[in-house]
């Protein structure tokens, strides 16, 4: 491995993959968003200027998708961040059972989201598990996924359930790096348990909190699998999300230009979040020296 030629040869598979499957899709989405494009009719049909952008931004369904997606992000990311931290704190104190419990709580995360969605289709069905349990408390039961008021929240609850154990792993790993001496010293000074959490634990694991929030936000912005399997955007568009809207535009209506507008808008949103994370972590490092 001494010559540049040898190194290039070793890099070639990655370089090809990078060019075709990372760089090209981004450039394609940006470029095609300004065209009329039909992959079934030989590709480029003509330039469209900002037409696709105008059409998408004039479409009430787009705004509904954006609103639903924001509701999904805001309704899942903070609860997941808080609940998985609570779970990690509890696991950290579970003594000998810690390892086993951690494994069990993580289990839903190794099962395909597609499978989880199918299972929850049963959970939320009219004759399903949730109504069976609700029946014990005298509730008549409802069609969770067929009611515009409950469909999106039902998917959100499932999402929180599915990701709890996953994010708890990151918190748990971070909790184990907190130096025990810090706690001992603070306890000598008469600090209570809540003081310990607020003044030692939380500042120590703050980078992981940011990591969890950002990673989950990026994921939540792209919510799609649950929607396509459980509700197909319905009822009455109540679970239509941005990526599902993009998918329908592209694969049901073959409006590739408009779909690419959505793809690119979501991409930019996500990159802004990723950059915000880097900036926050930098500031954190600067302030803690």
């Amino acid at each position: 491995m001494r010559t540049a030629r040898e190194r290039l040869l070793f890099l070639l598979p990655w370089a090809l993959s990078f060019a075709l499957f990372s760089a090209y899709p981004i450039l394609f989405s940006l470029g095609v968003s300004f065209t009329r494009y039909n992959p079934f009719r030989g590709g480029l049909v003509g330039w469209a200027g900002f037409d696709n952008y105008r059409q998408v931004f004039a479409d009430p369904a787009f705004w509904q998708s954006l609103r639903n997606t924001v509701v999904f992000v805001v309704g899942t990311v903070p609860p997941t961040a808080v609940l998985s931290l609570a779970l990690a704190l509890a696991l950290d104190r579970a003594g000998r059972l810690r390892g086993l419990l951690r494994t069990c709580y993580f289990l839903p995360s190794v099962v395909s989201l597609a499978v989880i969605s199918l299972v929850f289709k049963y959970v939320y069905a009219k004759q399903g598990l949730l109504n069976l349990v609700a029946g014990l408390f005298g509730s008549a039961g409802r069609e969770w996924l067929l009611d515009p008021r409950y469909a999106l929240p039902s998917i959100m609850v499932m999402d929180i359930w599915e990701s709890l154990g996953y994010y708890a792993i990151f918190y748990l790993a971070a909790l184990q790096t907190v130096p025990r001496e810090l706690y001992d010293a603070a306890r000598v000074d008469g600090a209570g348990r809540l003081d310990l959490f607020k003044s030692i634990t939380l500042p120590w694991i703050r980078p992981v909190v940011i990591f969890v929030v950002v990673v989950n936000t990026i994921r939540a912005f792209q919510v799609f699998v649950e929607v396509v399997i459980m509700t197909r955007g319905g009822p009455m568009g109540s679970t239509q999300t941005l990526i599902y809207y993009m998918y329908e535009k592209a694969f049901s209506y073959v409006k590739i230009g408009q779909a690419s507008v959505v793809a690119f808008v979501v991409f930019v949103l996500i990159m802004l979040f990723a950059l915000a994370q880097v900036a926050m972590l930098r500031r954190l490092k600067a302030s803690t020296g």
């Binding site: 890099l11 075709l20 499957f21 003594g95 709580y105 839903p108 190794v110 990591f211």
Partner: protein
């Protein structure tokens, strides 16, 4: 704090039952006879136990084909990542100065690219090459995951250079040095890479969903999802038998390689 350990552990055990309840129900429905759901919570423990759903879904329809497709695709993708990601990682680790920094920047940026942006371009690209609905479409785009390159690169930084310099003195070329000297030392990193790549691709839905359109080429998660949307009312027993079969390999892999999976997840992330 010793005193509060037992109650916390107990609480966690109780909550765990609720947490895993949906998965328990999945297994329970799969070993009941008939395709209806539970009539009451008492039906949760099925009697008599029946493997009829498993026999039916494996014998009938394209389910066995889905299983085969998932197995073939994941095997090729894992093999590709083991070879190509370590080659790239090695090249980056042995490139001096600025070019290495540029490559690392590209690799890390790639890790952040959201998958959704690939759906339409990848479909158009593969359609143009007449590769939609083939194994090529399910394998090629996933052969070199940037995260794996980065992970192996991090590991390689800790491997001393002396061993490969000795090999070079013996007259071994770059490829031989890589295959005989470097590759074996990467084993711990490659275990993590393999397990993660297996889990991600076995469970993958988004792109396989878009890049296939016939029963011949569906992977397990996609095939199951399509099956659940058939014209007839859902047969929960069959569906949950299929779901359980799809979940078993990942659960087993997790049980066996737990420590590696957790390491792959938290390394880097926790250190910020």
């Amino acid at each position: 704090m010793r005193t509060d350990r037992a109650p916390i552990a107990l609480l966690l055990v109780v909550l765990l039952v609720i947490d895993l309840f949906p998965l328990l129900v999945m297994v329970s429905l799969s070993v009941r006879s008939g395709g209806a759901g539970l009539g009451s919570l008492g039906d949760l423990v099925p009697h008599p136990l029946s493997t009829a759903n498993y026999a039916e879904i494996l014998a009938k329809g394209p389910f066995a084909r889905y299983f085969l497709n998932s197995t073939v695709v994941v095997t090729l993708v894992v093999a590709g990542n083991i070879v190509f990601a370590s080659m790239a990682a090695y090249a980056v680790a042995r490139t001096p100065g600025r070019p290495a920094a540029v490559m690392l920047f590209l690799i890390i940026s790639t890790m952040m690219v959201p998958k959704h942006i690939m759906m339409i371009p990848l479909f158009s690209l593969l359609l143009g090459m007449h590769l939609v609905d083939t194994y090529y479409a399910l394998v090629l785009p996933f052969l070199v995951d940037a995260f794996n390159v980065f992970f192996i690169y991090q590991f390689l930084k800790g491997v001393p250079r002396e061993i490969e310099e000795a090999a070079a003195l013996d007259g071994a070329g770059a490829w031989r040095t890589f295959a005989r000297v470097i590759f074996p030392t990467l084993k711990p990193a490659l275990v993590v890479t393999s397990v993660n790549t297996f889990l991600i691709n076995w469970n993958s839905f988004l792109l396989p969903f878009v890049l296939t359109n016939s029963d011949r080429m569906r992977t397990l998660p996609v095939g199951l999802a399509i099956f659940s949307q058939g014209e007839h009312s859902v047969d929960w027993g069959l569906l949950m038998a299929g779901s359980t079969l799809a979940a078993i390999p990942t659960v087993v892999a997790f049980a066996v390689f737990q420590r590696h999976i957790v390491r792959g997840m938290t390394e880097g992330a926790v250190r910020g």
